[in-house]
C-alpha cells in the first residue's frame, strides 16, 4: 500500500519507472480478473489494455484514495460489464452502435495463456449469471470487500453476499465433477 502510494505519486510526476512497476505488479492480476469475468480472452485483453491506457492518460491528475489494486480492479470490472452489454446489444443492433474502445493499438499475439485449471474455471464461470460471476471473481481474485462490490453493483451488501454464496456453491458442484481429487 505504501509502495503503491509512492509509485502513484511518482507516476503523477511522469516517472516511466513508476509506470513500469505498476504495470508489472498488477498486469497479470487484472488479466486474470478480466478473463474470469469475460469468457473471451480477446475481450479480456482489450479491457485490461484500455484500463491501463486510461490510467496513464489520467496519471497527472490521478488521486489515489484507496488501494491501487482496488482501483484498477474496479476499472476492469466496469469496463468488462460495458463490453458485455455492448456484446449483448450487438446481437440486436448494428456494429455502428457499439461502445468505442480507447485504443486501436493492435497486439501482435495472444496475450493471455490459460492453464488447464484456469480453463476449467473459466468454463464453469461462464455458466453463472453475470452478477454471481462478478461477486465471486472480484471477492476472491480481486480481494474486494463485499461492500465495495455492492457499491459497484448498486445493490446491498447482503445481496452481494448471497450472489457470492450461490455462485461458489454452483461452481463447487460444477467443478467437483471435473477436478481430480
Amino acid at each position: 500500500m505504501l509502495e503503491d502510494r509512492l509509485l502513484v505519486w511518482r507516476l503523477r510526476r511522469g516517472s516511466r519507472d513508476a509506470l513500469r512497476r505498476i504495470y508489472e505488479k498488477y498486469r497479470d492480476d487484472m488479466l486474470r480478473i478480466a478473463a474470469g469475468l469475460l469468457s473471451q480472452t480477446n475481450s479480456a485483453e482489450d479491457v485490461v489494455h484500455d484500463v491501463f491506457l486510461n490510467f496513464v492518460r489520467s496519471a497527472a491528475s490521478f488521486e489515489l484514495t484507496g488501494s491501487l489494486k482496488g482501483y484498477l480492479t474496479t476499472c476492469v470490472a466496469n469496463r468488462a460489464r460495458n463490453v458485455l452489454r455492448s456484446q449483448n446489444r450487438q446481437r440486436t443492433v448494428s456494429l455502428d452502435d457499439t461502445d468505442p474502445v480507447v485504443s486501436d493499438f493492435k497486439r501482435p499475439d495472444q496475450w493471455i495463456i490459460c492453464g488447464e485449471q484456469f480453463s476449467l474455471l473459466s468454463s464453469a464461470l461462464a455458466q453463472l449469471p453475470y452478477e454471481q460471476r462478478e461477486a465471486v471473481i472480484l471477492h476472491i481474485q480481486g480481494d474486494m470487500k463485499f461492500r465495495d462490490i455492492a457499491k459497484m453493483q448498486e445493490t446491498s451488501t447482503k445481496t452481494v453476499q448471497s450472489r457470492y454464496r450461490y455462485g461458489t456453491t454452483k461452481l463447487r458442484s460444477i467443478l467437483d465433477g471435473e477436478v481430480p481429487k
Binding site: W9, R16, D28, V56, W111, I140, D176
Partner: protein
C-alpha cells in the same frame, strides 16, 4: 473442495513479447501526455505554490535538510569515472538558493498514518533561512517550519493543534547563521557512505550513495530528532547536482509521536524536482502564525513569575526601555524581525531579545490557559512610566498580582486594581 482456494490458485500466464509491446505503448502514451500537457502538469503539481501569495518565482522542489546533510557526508572523490562528490558539494554551495519537493509518509506499528502523509515544498536561502510547507492529500497545511538565520530560531507551526514551537539555533554567534553550505560541509565531512553505482531514473543517468548514520541530524538545525536515518542520494551524472533522494528514518520525537500515542514512528521520504539557482523573495520567510496559536512547551520549560520578570527586564535593557507589544512569541519574533530586516547586518540585540522573552511568553500563556483574567499592557507602558500596570492577573476572589512598569510586583485588591487601571 475448498472452492475459494481453488479459484485463488487458478492462475494464468502471459506472453512476454506482448507484455513488452503493451508496456512500450503505455510508456509512449505517458511521454506524449507529458509533452502535450506539460504546462497543465506543472500547474497541477505546483497548485499549492501557484495558489499561494508567493508566486513570483517559477521554482520546483525541496529537501534542503536531507540533501545538504547528505552532501555533508561526502568525504572526497567518489571515483575516477563517476560523480566527483566534492564537486557536488561545491556546486550546491555556489547556488544562491534552491527549492525542492518531497513526499513523506509516516508509519506506526507497520501502518501508514494517512492524515500525516504529506506533499512538502521547501525553500532554501543562504541569506534568510529555510522554510518548509507540508500539506496533506487534501491540500490542507499540516505543518510549517521556518529556520531563520537572522532571528537565530527555528519555528514549527502545527495548524491541527493550533500550536507552534520554537528552538533556538545552536550557534553561539548569530553571525554564524549566515554561513554557506560549504562552511557547513567541512565539519561534517568525516561521515561514511556506501556507493550504490549508477542507474537510470526517469530517463536521467544518475549515480548514488547511501548514508546511514544515527547521528545524521544530531546537532543540526532541523527541529525533529531522529533515532536512525538512511539516505540514498542520486546525483545527475551530467550536472553533478542532486536529482533524487530517498530517506528512511525512525523517530521518537514527541513532535511526531504526539500523533502515534507516544510510539516511535518511521518517516519515509522521496525527494526530487530540485530547482537550482532560483530567486527567493524575503517575504517567503516572513512568519505567518494566527494570533490565537499557543506555544508548544514541555516540562523543562519554566513558567515562573521570577523568570518572566527577568525576561522582561532583559528585553527592556536591550530595547532602551521598551516592552514588547505582546507576549505572544510569534508577535515578538515578528516585531524583532522588523528591526532585523532593516538592519545592515544581523541584529544581535534582536535575537537576544527574542530569547530573553521566552519565559515571559510561557508564563503569560500559562495564565491564559488557566483563565486567570490576565491583561498585558506592553504596547502602552514603558520602563519610564510611573506606577503603570504592565501586567496583572487574578490570584484569588478579590485579589490580583500586579507587575508595574518598573517591574516591581505586588498583590492588590480588586478595588485597588480598578483605581490603578483607571489612571492609565
Amino acid at each position: 473442495m475448498n472452492i475459494k482456494r481453488w479459484i485463488k490458485n487458478a492462475k494464468i500466464k502471459t506472453n512476454p513479447h506482448v507484455n513488452q509491446v503493451v508496456l512500450n505503448n503505455l510508456l509512449n502514451t505517458l511521454d506524449k501526455s507529458k509533452s502535450e500537457h506539460s504546462a497543465d502538469v506543472q500547474l497541477s503539481v505546483w497548485r499549492i505554490i501557484m495558489s499561494s501569495k508567493i508566486t513570483k518565482f517559477a521554482v520546483a522542489a525541496i529537501i534542503i535538510i536531507a540533501v545538504y546533510v547528505g552532501i555533508n557526508q561526502f568525504g572526497g572523490l567518489f571515483s575516477d569515472a563517476g560523480v566527483v562528490w566534492a564537486e557536488v558539494a561545491d556546486k550546491i554551495d555556489l547556488m544562491p538558493a534552491f527549492t525542492h519537493r518531497s513526499k513523506r509518509i509516516i508509519i506506526c506499528d507497520g501502518k501508514e498514518i494517512p492524515s500525516l502523509t504529506s506533499d512538502v515544498v521547501t525553500y532554501y536561502s543562504p541569506e534568510y533561512g529555510i522554510r518548509e510547507d507540508a500539506r496533506n492529500q487534501s491540500g490542507r497545511l499540516i505543518h510549517q517550519v521556518y529556520i531563520l538565520w537572522r532571528e537565530g530560531l527555528s519555528v514549527t507551526i502545527q495548524p491541527a493543534l493550533r500550536q507552534y514551537k520554537t528552538v533556538e539555533l545552536a550557534a553561539p554567534d548569530v553571525e554564524q547563521f549566515r554561513i554557506t553550505l560549504k562552511q557547513l560541509i567541512q565539519p561534517l565531512r568525516s561521515g561514511q557512505y556506501t556507493e550504490l553505482g549508477s542507474k537510470i531514473i526517469d530517463g536521467v543517468e544518475v549515480e548514488g550513495v547511501e548514508i546511514s548514520d544515527p547521528c545524521l541530524f544530531a546537532g543540526s538545525i532541523y527541529p525533529i530528532k531522529f533515532d536512525s536515518v538512511v539516505i540514498r542520494l542520486w546525483v545527475d551524472v551530467r550536472t553533478s547536482l542532486p536529482f533524487r533522494a530517498d530517506a528512511d528514518s525512525v523517530t521518537s520525537d514527541k513532535y511526531i509521536t504526539v500523533f502515534t500515542g507516544g510510539k516511535p514512528a518511521e518517516v519515509k521520504a522521496v525527494m526530487d524536482e530540485f530547482q537550482w539557482d532560483v530567486q527567493l523573495d524575503q517575504g517567503i520567510f516572513e512568519l505567518n502564525v494566527p494570533d490565537d496559536f499557543t506555544l508548544m512547551t514541555d516540562e523543562t520549560d519554566s513558567r515562573d513569575e521570577g523568570k518572566a520578570v527577568l525576561g522582561l527586564q532583559n528585553f527592556a535593557q536591550l530595547t532602551g526601555g521598551k516592552y514588547p507589544g505582546s507576549l505572544n512569541l510569534i508577535a515578538v519574533i515578528k516585531e524583532s524581525h522588523e528591526r532585523i530586516k532593516n538592519a545592515d547586518g544581523i541584529n544581535i540585540a534582536g535575537c537576544k531579545a527574542i530569547k530573553a522573552l521566552r519565559p515571559a511568553c510561557l508564563f503569560y500563556g500559562e495564565l491564559v490557559k488557566q483563565n486567570k483574567d490576565v491583561v498585558y499592557n506592553g504596547s502602552a507602558v514603558t520602563a519610564e512610566d510611573t506606577d503603570a500596570v504592565l501586567m496583572r492577573w487574578k490570584i484569588a476572589d478579590n485579589e490580583y498580582r500586579v507587575i508595574f512598569s518598573d517591574l516591581a510586583a505586588e498583590n492588590v485588591s480588586a478595588e485597588r486594581l480598578a483605581e490603578l487601571e483607571k489612571r492609565q
